[in-house]
């Protein structure tokens, strides 16, 4: 199915959701054109291909758009053969979907609340929720990766924890994550950040840290 088909990915360089789609494409060896979007000045194309949410990532495959990062990852897994991103067994597939959803429903909102909510009590609540969610993931993690010996859907979903979460924590002086509290997550983090495909797509760490620092500074300055 694959060759001679035009694949385009609309994204922003620092988005964990966009990285999910990029890693999926690279794991399958798919050649694609990348289009960097500006969230404050969205292109006509982006608005045309994702009119409902107007967000990145958007995958365009032969002019047909696929939106929502986890939907894109499953689509990439099904449209191209090769590397299996989801397991083949229905029960394990259900588990992979469950934990990816858990990360999106529990980890992200809690971390955002802990970092950016204007109310201090809400920030504390967010931090508590984030720590609870991380503990559940810590307990769940058995092997080298969430997917076993190789990375899969849940690892792509959880990449936020390995790369972005520690940076937001450092920039904002938050208390969400520590290697001592979550040793298995810590080890998993090292493994996944050193995975050749993942390493190749991540934005520069200092760049992301600087951006977070500026955001936190702007918040304190406006108080």
């Amino acid at each position: 199915m694959a060759s001679n088909q035009h694949v385009k990915l609309f994204g922003t360089v620092r988005s964990p959701f966009v990285k999910r789609a990029e890693i999926a494409l690279k794991l399958k060896g798919v050649e694609y054109e990348y289009v960097e979007e500006s969230l404050s000045n969205k292109s006509d194309d982006l608005l045309k291909y994702n009119p409902v949410h107007k967000k990145v990532p958007v995958l365009l495959h032969n002019d047909k758009p696929v939106c929502e990062s986890l939907v894109i990852v499953e689509y990439v897994d099904e449209a191209w053969t090769g590397y299996p991103i989801l397991p083949s067994d229905p029960y394990h597939r259900a588990q992979a979907r469950f934990w990816s959803k858990f990360i999106d429903d529990k980890v992200f909102p809690a971390a955002f609340k802990a970092a950016w909510n204007p109310n201090e009590k809400e920030r504390d609540k967010g931090a508590e929720e984030a720590r609870e969610a991380l503990q559940i993931l810590e307990n769940k993690l058995k092997g080298k990766f969430f997917n076993g010996d190789s990375i899969g859907l849940v690892d792509l979903a959880a990449l936020y924890i390995a790369f972005w979460l520690p940076l937001i924590q450092e920039a904002g002086g938050l208390d969400l994550y520590s290697g001592e509290k979550y040793p298995k997550l810590e080890k998993w983090g090292h493994e996944i950040l050193n995975h050749p495909v993942v390493k190749g797509v991540l934005p520069p760490r200092d760049n992301v840290l600087a951006i977070y620092k500026t955001r936190f500074q702007n918040i304190s300055a406006s108080k």
Partner: protein, 221 residues
């Protein structure tokens, strides 16, 4: 086949209804267990099978739990794949089905819930958001009898349970679904012709009475 299938649900929950419709569509022999979810009277089985969220629905298949309604539908479709396919076979069409089921699950659910749990300007805003969502879904449906095409599909199963709550949204939101989105009403009634849906969806009045009771209990005025 020798399969043991148990479905833990809560009668007014749209999530539980989804799982039940899917199981019924596939003609699976199953045991349904009603959870007393609102009174937080959760059964030991529920707590054992869904320790993370402690919520329904949970499908227990030969002792192994599957949680989260949309994930349950996909699991059922993959295991019992010999009849009544709920997801299309083409990857692109599957992606579209997943996208719209997710849209119903997050956007529609949130706006709908807030219609009857908020008041004043906030409620008005949520109602308008909900109606916008309905119009988008009408557009998606187009001329097709079902979102799944000629037969019930993933999006139909994800969305039709909301029909049992329409009276709640109409009464609290002060609008008329038939007037705002007649094609959605026509589609829902078409779905209700199916045994799986008719057997599952509770009566709108019963759901409305429950909503009143919940609001009182939660002190929402």
């Amino acid at each position: 086949m020798g399969d043991e299938v148990i479905l833990l649900g809560y009668w007014p929950s749209q999530y539980g209804m989804r799982a039940r419709i899917a199981v019924e569509e596939k003609g699976i022999q199953y045991e349904y267990k009603e959870e007393d979810a609102f009174n937080y009277n959760k059964s030991p089985l529920l707590l054992e099978m869904n320790p993370v969220h402690k919520k329904t629905p949970v499908l227990v298949h030969n002792g192994k739990p599957i949680c989260e309604s949309l994930i349950v539908i996909e699991y059922i479709d993959e295991v019992w794949n010999h009849k009544s396919p709920l997801l299309p076979s083409d990857p692109y069409d599957r992606a579209q089905a997943r996208f719209w089921a997710d849209f119903v699950h997050r956007k529609v659910y949130d706006a709908a819930k807030r219609i009857w749990t908020t008041k004043g300007e906030e409620r008005e805003g949520e109602k308008n958001e909900f109606i916008e969502c309905m119009k988008l879904l009408e557009q998606q449906l187009g001329e097709k009898p079902y979102f799944g095409g000629d037969s019930l599909g993933f999006v139909d199963v994800a969305f039709v349970p909301f029909y049992s709550w329409f009276q709640v949204y109409e009464k609290f939101g002060n609008f008329n679904m038939e007037a705002e989105c007649p094609n959605i009403i026509a589609w829902a009634k078409r779905c209700l012709q199916k045994q799986s849906v008719a057997n599952t969806l509770p009566d709108q009045h019963k759901v409305y009475d429950l909503a009143i009771w919940i609001r009182k209990k939660l002190g929402i005025e």
